[in-house]
């Protein structure tokens, strides 16, 4: 019996995976798009549980706001602005069967290759032995405080944030720029949208008074939770990405509960773009500050350098703690900048998504004539 209770995490994992499969099947075959969004929300919730049981809290913290909080809002906006139903008559049967077979074969090959990537043993269950690289990351993420041992360390107890912003910082830098390119693309499509200049009226706009009162209490709490997740990224699960998407949901809640005219009082689009750029500049500065100091003093330095390296005679690098509080060198600056940038990027896109369709159609008609 006690053996059965040790299996509980794995049982829950299997149950949630099966339930998500049912939800995915219904989401794909459903004609009503709103129902499809709801099924996909069920699937997201179960994936969150799955990520949790696979012991990656960072992913849960970023995945739940994205998949449940933001993506469903985006889909609901899009469905409201476009069509509600999908036309399914006339999908060719044989062609889709062939595609299904092809997809299955392709995915079988990919899945087989993936099982091979469990590397050390050829079993489905991962082995007890971790990869050498993983062991190295785990060993060095918070090492002793003498600087010659600190050389390869990020001085952060949080291995994931250490990898994101220190060990593989350059990767993250370019991934972040991919994100900004996507946001800039969306901004370019929406370049002529303008939020109409209307006054926010308490009684005729937004949802009921109960929701408004609760959200008035809630929004500051969300912002506080988000800042806490974002700035403690080097100590507890979290980081700039997680905090940013968490705070972005506050904006979408404000748009839905009050109205966009209420939200633009606090988030003006051009201010948001300015703050986003400040965040990006913060990342760039924190990445190059060590090499700039080194150039000024005539010693060696590196891009994305965090702790002092043996090749640098002086301790070029940011301190790992201030007044006894661990700040892990540049990680705190990176997290704060990324928080600002992600938050403001998604806030802009949500404000633009909520522009009423009539005012946009007027502009489009004007351009055609």
């Amino acid at each position: 019996m006690s053996q059965l209770y040790e299996l509980i995490p794995y049982i829950v994992m299997a149950v949630s995976a099966l339930a998500s499969t049912v939800a995915v099947y219904l989401a794909i075959v459903e004609r009503d798009l709103i129902k499809a969004v709801l099924y996909s929300a069920i699937q997201s919730t179960f994936y969150a549980l799955l990520f949790y049981l696979l012991m990656v809290p960072d992913i849960v913290l970023v995945y739940v706001p994205v998949a449940v909080g933001l993506l469903s809002a985006v889909f609901i906006f899009a469905i409201k602005k476009t069509e509600k139903y999908e036309e399914v008559a006339g999908i060719p049967k044989t062609a889709s069967a062939i595609i299904l077979v092809l997809v299955t074969v392709f995915t079988l090959i990919a899945g087989w290759l993936l099982i091979q990537s469990h590397a050390i043993t050829f079993e489905i269950f991962p082995s007890a032995d971790a990869r050498a690289l993983a062991k190295w990351f785990l060993n060095t993420t918070l090492a002793s405080k003498e600087w010659w041992i600190r050389t390869f360390s990020a001085m952060s107890p949080e291995a994931v944030t250490a990898i994101v912003w220190d060990y593989r910082g350059l990767d993250t830098y370019f991934e972040t720029s991919v994100m900004y390119l996507a946001i800039i693309g969306a901004l370019a499509i929406a370049r002529y949208f303008e939020i109409p200049k209307k006054e926010y009226k308490e009684e005729s706009m937004g949802m009921s008074i109960v929701g408004k009162t609760a959200t008035k209490i809630l929004v500051p709490m969300i912002i506080v939770v988000a800042i806490s997740i974002g700035l403690h990224g080097h100590l507890t699960p979290g980081g700039g990405f997680q905090g940013g998407v968490t705070a972005a949901v506050a904006v979408s809640l404000m748009i839905f509960i009050f109205s966009v005219y209420f939200a633009v009082r606090y988030f003006k689009i051009y201010t948001a773009i300015l703050l986003r750029i400040i965040g990006l500049i913060g990342i760039a500065l924190a990445a190059t500050i060590a090499i700039l100091i080194a150039l000024a003093t005539g010693y060696h330095g590196f891009i994305f350098q965090n702790q002092p390296k043996p090749i640098t005679p002086l301790e070029v690098g940011l301190p790992y703690e201030i007044g006894g509080n661990l700040i892990s060198g540049t990680l705190l600056i990176f997290n704060a900048s990324e928080f600002l940038a992600v938050f403001m990027g998604f806030a802009i896109l949500f404000l633009l998504l909520s522009v009423p369709e009539e005012s946009i159609m007027e502009v489009i008609r004007g351009e055609i004539e």
């Binding site: 009684e203 949802m207 009921s208 929701g211 209490i217 809630l218 709490m221 939770v225």
Partner: protein, 130 residues
């Protein structure tokens, strides 16, 4: 023995109450006939089934000295979660019920009386003030 023992017993009782409420709410969710009755089951799930056991887990965490200082993190975050649920679940249910009632998305099939409809017909209540 002592304080830890008492707190452990209390927390297990709270988690047990939560399990009971969850099962009851699950049965209600499946057996009740329409949306407005199912709201009742949802309330049991949110307050009895989530708020109470999370408080219980937080209390249990306070007694576990093997966790070291991070047990206070666990307990504090647990209390914050519980308060969020207590604050948000009724508001969410209210918003949903109002929207479902006025958009007529949920069918009110076994219906004894609809006092709100009568009040609106009489003009005593307006939709925007509900």
């Amino acid at each position: 023995m002592g304080l830890n023992f008492i707190l452990t017993i209390i927390s297990y009782i709270l988690i047990g109450i939560g399990a009971f409420c969850q099962v009851v709410a699950g049965i209600g969710m499946n057996r009740f006939p329409n949306f407005f009755v199912r709201l009742h089951a949802a309330t049991i799930c949110a307050v009895g089934g989530s708020f109470v056991p999370i408080i219980g887990c937080s209390i249990l965490a306070l007694t576990l000295e093997e966790f070291g200082p991070s047990r206070f993190f666990l307990a504090g975050a647990g209390f914050v979660t519980a308060i969020f649920i207590l604050l948000l679940a009724p508001v969410g249910s209210h918003l949903l019920a109002k929207a479902a009632y006025f958009s007529k998305a949920a069918v009110l099939h076994p219906k004894a009386a609809d006092l709100l409809e009568e009040d609106i017909k009489k003009g005593e209540v307006r939709e925007s003030t509900v």
